[in-house]
């Protein structure tokens, strides 16, 4: 769920890849407003764009097969130095703990999306909710 104070951005879009740039660009713009972040804000903007893009693709891929009417809901919540991102899907879900770290020396064309999320966020979880699943990411904006 989204918080009720601080910066709270909630977006609902059809579960189609054409909306990836919209979600990613909003994440970038939010990152650029974060005065509390003392690091490289342009890098943070890219990284949030990336993790939101990957999370949304993940949600689209795990949606119910053939159902084009489903949506993806994305929520970003920032309070003080806590950044939380929630990406909700309504598909069958998957077990995040069973996704291995990629072998970066192998030339696999897939398998780097979760790796990016784990790299750029402090932690990532995926769990079932009453009516679907939520991928949650947290980052301390130190």
């Amino acid at each position: 769920m989204c918080g009720e104070t601080g910066i709270n951005v909630e977006i609902v879009v059809p579960n189609q890849t054409r909306y990836l740039s919209l979600i990613g660009n909003i994440a970038e713009q939010v990152a650029k407003t974060l005065d509390v972040y003392t690091g490289d804000r342009d890098a943070l903007a890219y990284h949030l764009n990336l993790v939101l893009t990957e999370a949304m693709v993940n949600a689209i891929q795990h949606a119910a097969p053939g159902d084009t009417h489903k949506t993806v809901r994305v929520c970003m919540y920032i309070e003080d130095k806590d950044l939380r991102i929630y990406v909700y899907d309504y598909g069958q879900g998957f077990d995040l703990n069973k996704v291995p770290a990629p072998n970066l020396d192998a030339l696999n064309e897939r398998g780097r999306g979760i790796f990016f999320m784990r790299t750029f966020m402090d932690w990532v979880s995926y769990r079932k909710t009453d009516n679907g699943n939520v991928l949650e990411m947290y980052k301390k904006l130190g």
Binding site: Y46, L50, P102, L107, G111, R112, G113, F115
Partner: protein
């Protein structure tokens, strides 16, 4: 996806006219590269100078191009990576796989 190609000194240069390569257009890029290779254009240069964002599927599409060019004893070169895009290659160690040049001008035989 907005792609233009030009043949120069025995190489085919792909100029990507997109700021983002992500899961929305990476499949098209992958297919486009494969079609070029199948049509005998086996020395490819991908000009990424206009690309400011790439995700995991974009890296995968370029990796597919690299592998398919190698299978045909061809070459697959990247040029003009912006710093953030370059950092994605470094994080995933793909900068060790691809031949990467700062700009098209610096690709051997391309001046």
């Amino acid at each position: 996806m907005n792609i233009s190609t030009e043949d120069r000194n025995g190489r085919t240069i792909l100029n990507l006219g997109e700021e983002r390569i992500d899961a929305h257009n990476s499949g098209e890029l992958k297919d486009y590269i494969l079609k070029l290779l199948e049509d005998g254009h086996t020395r490819l240069v991908v000009n990424l100078s206009g690309v400011r964002f790439i995700d995991s599927s974009g890296l995968g599409a370029l990796l597919s191009g690299y592998k398919n060019a190698s299978l045909r004893s061809g070459s697959f070169v990247l040029a003009g990576l912006q710093p953030r895009v370059q950092s994605m290659f470094e994080l995933t160690r793909l900068h060790r796989v691809f031949d990467i040049y700062p700009s098209l001008r610096e690709v051997p035989g391309n001046d």
